[in-house]
């Protein structure tokens, strides 16, 4: 299928090489730069005349002018098949644990391993029958992968109608064996293997129709699910300055989110953060299934000191794997941390290509690239009637924490929800530090709308009173306004804030959110009477402490009811019945 052409290196500038070629070369084609015994993977990113420019996915030290480049004829692709779940890959889908087993502590340049285990066998049950007419993306049979039925599908690159000539019998197969033989309309025969390859920059679009994202994706983070919800198949972004809590928010989401599969794309940030995930997840229980969390997780790890070009590839690798599982009727959540690092990789390359820079030296096409990436999220109806979704959540790391910068602004234009983290809140340890007045979501949440609207109004008024108090002081503030301010603070302390490290508080189910928010809504609505401001403050301090204790006990335990009734009692004592 692939033919190899050769080219010669004319220049090296960082990880960009200029290569002279004779036979045809395609944009985004993969090539290997050879020096000594090394073969360094690279991708064509610009062609001018007889010179192709390639970004090398490795350190380019020792490359010489005159060295050979092999062009492969294949676009940058990933392997799709059973065994992806639980894997830890770099941005080019090399399995990191296997690389470690071969090369030790350090990543070795030019070392590439098969993404899927070639020895492992999978128990196949055919679905398609001989003579059936199928098309790309249809199911030929299934193998169990963890808790899922992994569909072995008609290769996505086959066009038109195909007839099943033969299909593998029930039994154990390796990924490189043939699952079925298919005949196209012109009589051509095609082997459908237990795995296939797909170019990462092309979306997989083999569904019947795209639907509107309406179902909430419950993250168990209260401020998200109640105030700024995410929908299955929707997109959202988390911009925030460093240290505001982007990564922690994604980490807890990756643990508790109510989806089938979570794909974590650690894109150009700290290696240590991924290590926490990959060391802990195997020992954590997935509350939905009782199995190891790792069984539903896939990690793409291209951290900041790993090659920059592979960082750019990593988000595409992630979303392609997500689309693959969506095609099986599953709900997949892709978390990318951080999309700014990907944008910076684009910027570095654009600079080396000496393109005319846009704002802050980002390339002019930044916005359309970001838009196209988020467009790959979505909820779809498959041809068999099943529903699958890819939800994309990306963090953004704006320079100087200023949201008026190109990556944040381009992202805000395309996503369905905005969780803006504020330095002010994180400094005050109000976590998760999502700014409740500026953030927004276009999706529907888990709590009745009118309650949320009321609470939001209370937050806004509380903030106004607080601002005013800074000018006129507490003594210049009426007791009613003061109570409004205290109510807003109360809502913030006991509901918006949530302790990511507490075993109970860290995850709040949607039932619990509905229940608890109902109570808090009642507190906010209650007209209260206090003799003086200090009494009001003391009351709210006590109620806050009690409610926080309440957040920390299991909902089905005896303490839950007890604390609840104590709170009711307290409330009754200050209620004004006038």
């Amino acid at each position: 299928m692939t033919t190899t052409h050769l080219g010669k290196i004319k220049g090296v500038n960082g990880n960009l090489i200029r290569v002279e070629f004779a036979s045809p070369v395609a944009q985004n084609e993969v090539g290997y730069a050879r020096t000594g015994n090394l073969r360094l993977k690279a991708e064509v990113i610009r062609i001018r005349g007889t010179v192709a420019e390639l970004q090398v996915f490795e350190d380019t030290s020792d490359l010489h002018v005159g060295d050979t480049v092999e062009f492969t004829g294949e676009l940058l692709s990933v392997e799709l098949g059973p065994g992806l779940l639980g894997s830890i890959y770099d941005g080019l889908q090399n399995p990191l644990p296997e690389l470690a087993a071969e090369s030790g502590f350090f990543l070795q340049r030019g070392k590439y391993l098969a993404s899927l285990d070639r020895k492992k066998t999978w128990a196949f049950t055919p679905v398609a029958t001989v003579g059936a007419v199928v098309q790309a993306g249809d199911t030929l049979g299934t193998v169990p992968e963890g808790i899922f039925q992994h569909r072995i599908m008609v290769p996505f690159n086959l066009r038109g109608k195909l007839t099943v000539e033969s299909v593998a019998a029930v039994g154990d197969y390796r990924v490189d064996q043939v699952a079925a033989v298919l005949v196209d309309e012109r009589g051509g025969k095609h082997d459908a293997l237990f795995h296939q390859r797909w170019p990462v920059k092309l979306p997989i679009k083999l569904f019947a129709e795209r639907l509107r994202p309406t179902e909430p994706l419950v993250t168990k983070v209260r401020i998200v699910d109640t105030f700024f919800p995410v929908a299955r198949g929707g997109t959202y972004c988390i911009p925030g300055p460093f240290g505001a809590g982007k990564t922690v928010l994604q980490q807890i989401t990756s643990r508790y989110a109510d989806v089938d599969i979570v794909i974590i794309a650690a894109c150009g940030e700290r290696a240590g953060e991924v290590v926490e995930t990959l060391r802990e997840f195997p020992h954590l229980e997935d509350p939905r299934t009782g199995r190891s969390l790792m069984e539903r997780t896939l990690i793409i790890c291209n951290t900041s000191s790993m090659p920059v070009a592979a960082r750019e590839a990593s988000v595409y690798t992630g979303v392609t794997l997500a689309e693959y599982y969506r095609q099986m009727g599953l709900h997949v959540l892709l978390l990318a941390d951080s999309t700014s690092r990907w944008a910076q990789a684009l910027r570095e390359m654009s600079g080396r290509l000496e393109e005319i820079p846009g704002e802050e030296a980002f390339p002019a096409y930044l916005e359309s690239v970001i838009a196209a990436f988020y467009e790959r999220g979505g909820v779809v109806k498959l041809r068999d009637g099943g529903i699958g979704s890819v939800t994309i959540g990306g963090t953004v790391s704006p320079a100087g924490g200023n949201f008026e910068e190109p990556v944040t602004q381009s992202t805000l234009k395309v996503v369905g929800a905005f969780h803006g983290l504020s330095r002010e809140r994180s400094d005050a340890r109000r976590f998760p530090a999502i700014q409740p007045l500026d953030s927004w979501s276009k999706y529907t949440g888990v709590v009745p709308d009118e309650q949320v609207t009321f609470a939001r109004g209370m937050l806004r008024r509380g903030n106004e009173v607080n601002q005013m108090m800074k000018v006129v002081g507490e003594e210049g503030t009426s007791i009613d306004d003061f109570v409004t301010y205290l109510k807003a603070e109360y809502l913030d302390s006991v509901y918006l804030q949530q302790d990511a490290y507490h075993e109970v508080d860290s995850a709040t189910s949607s039932e619990r959110q509905q229940y608890v928010f109902g109570r808090i809504h009642k507190v906010l609505k209650t007209r209260m009477q206090f003799a003086e401001k200090d009494a009001a403050r003391q009351f709210f301090q006590r109620l806050t402490q009690l409610t926080r204790d309440w957040n920390r006990v299991a909902m089905d335990g005896p303490e839950f009811k007890e604390l609840e009734s104590r709170a009711e009692q307290m409330l009754a004592e200050v209620t004004s019945y006038a």
């Binding site: 290590v275 900041s304 920059v308 100087g400 005050a428 204790d549």
Partner: protein, 431 residues
């Protein structure tokens, strides 16, 4: 074998262009002219034009200078004999000791496979409550001190280094004032730590390109020690000088700057160095403490800003104290649940109350009446600053936690603090 070229085509900034063939990217060369000999490194290949960055600068380099390619990239020696020694940014002895040439290894080596890292687990005790209690330092952490010129950041670095239980200390000085260089040498000497230290020092008077080499050299040596199961602490001061050196080269190379003149890859360049911090699963560790001075005390300046996105937190040094706001140890939660059961409670509550104190101060400055609650906060804030924040305080963690409870109890009622009842029941000091 080694080829010599003499056709220098261009000299600009610290970069020279020579016509040569069969040269490897990042290869090292020796440039010899009337001024003497300097090392240089290939930073770009374009046909037969080879761009070299000259370590001692291009001043005095003539168009007929000799360029001899060495066939390998920049390397550093590694041996126990490095201990107690002081070198320049390009690895030449700065003390009177002999040159060392054993086990030459390339600098700027590949990154550690994330799958071989482990979750850091050991607290590094410093005796400074603002660190130990509020932002615990952890072995293998990478952490900068954000500061403005004039703050005592170098003494703070030295103090932590001397107090920390590590096997090897490596100092990388960039644009260091000569006095500061002597200061480090003398304190390490005085406290008997020089024998377990290696210093790579670029002073403000040295050629700027050598400044660029310092972090890579220091970290390459650190890596070798760590692979020998040593716990290594690397001190880098000042990384802003390193970034400025990169800016200078980028401008010479006519790269399009992204932000205030800094190159677009500033983040990746800084990360490549900081990510060398590591805890190996079957070997030693590298902890990096760096200084990042903030031009104009502006944390949004590209250098501190990019640094903050890379490092595992930061300490803000301001007015001679480590500020609780903005300071952060991202790894603290990996260790502060194993120190003492009340550690996190004290950490969170004292900071929240200190934030409230700051608000009260503002109100007071506006001339508003102080409520009973405000009065309590005012009392609290003063004690917190004096007994916890002051850098002269030097007490073990446990004593600092006890002190925390005492200050709280002296200022507040238990229910006012927002601390869960389970904790106050147990720890609130009885009157």
């Amino acid at each position: 074998m080694l080829k010599t070229y003499q056709q220098i085509e261009q000299i600009a900034g610290n970069v020279i262009v020579v016509k040569a063939s069969d040269v490897g990217y990042r290869e090292l060369a020796q440039v010899t002219s009337a001024q003497g000999t300097s090392l240089a490194q290939v930073i770009r290949l374009e046909g037969d034009r080879v761009y070299l960055q000259v370590f001692t600068g291009s001043r005095g380099v003539a168009t007929d200078a000799q360029v001899r390619f060495l066939g390998h990239p920049m390397q550093v020696p590694f041996s126990e004999a490095l201990l107690g020694r002081i070198f320049t940014g390009s690895g030449q002895p700065r003390d009177r000791g002999p040159a060392i040439q054993e086990n030459m290894t390339a600098i700027g080596g590949p990154s550690v496979n994330p799958a071989k890292r482990i979750i850091p687990r050991n607290m590094v005790r410093t005796g400074i409550p603002m660190i130990d209690v509020f932002n615990t330092l952890v072995e293998s952490q990478k952490l900068p001190i954000f500061s403005v010129a004039g703050e005592p950041y170098n003494p703070l670095l030295a103090r932590i280094a001397l107090q920390a239980e590590v096997d090897v200390i490596i100092l990388g000085g960039m644009g260091l004032k000569h006095d500061d260089y002597l200061y480090f040498r003398d304190v390490l000497e005085e406290k008997g730590a020089l024998a377990r230290s290696v210093m790579f020092v670029h002073t403000a008077a040295d050629p700027v390109v050598e400044c660029l080499m310092v972090p890579d050299i220091a970290l390459a040596v650190a890596e070798q020690f760590a692979l020998q199961k040593k716990r290594v602490l690397v001190l880098l001061t000042d990384m802003t000088n390193f970034a400025d050196a990169m800016k200078e080269i980028a401008i010479t190379m006519e790269q399009i700057p992204s932000n205030r003149g800094y190159p677009g890859d500033l983040y990746s360049q800084l990360a490549a160095r900081y990510e060398k911090a590591v805890d190996f699963d079957t070997a030693g560790s590298i902890t990096i403490l760096a200084v990042t001075t903030m031009p104009g005390d502006d944390v949004t300046h590209p250098v501190p800003d990019n640094t903050g996105y890379i490092t595992e937190g930061q300490f803000y040094l301001r007015n001679g104290r480590i500020e609780p706001f903005g300071s952060l140890s991202r790894l603290k939660q990996l260790v502060n649940d194993k120190t003492r059961a009340d550690h996190r409670t004290i950490m969170n509550s004292m900071i929240q109350l200190y934030a409230a104190y700051k608000e009260t101060l503002e109100k007071q400055a506006m001339g508003f009446r102080m409520s009973v609650w405000d009065q309590k906060l005012l009392k609290y804030g003063v004690r917190f600053e004096k007994e916890m924040m002051d850098l002269s305080v030097n007490i073990p963690l446990e004593q600092a936690l006890d002190l925390g409870w005492q200050i709280l109890a002296d200022c507040f009622d238990a229910t006012e603090t927002g601390i869960p009842s389970k904790m106050t029941d147990k720890y609130w000091p009885k009157k």
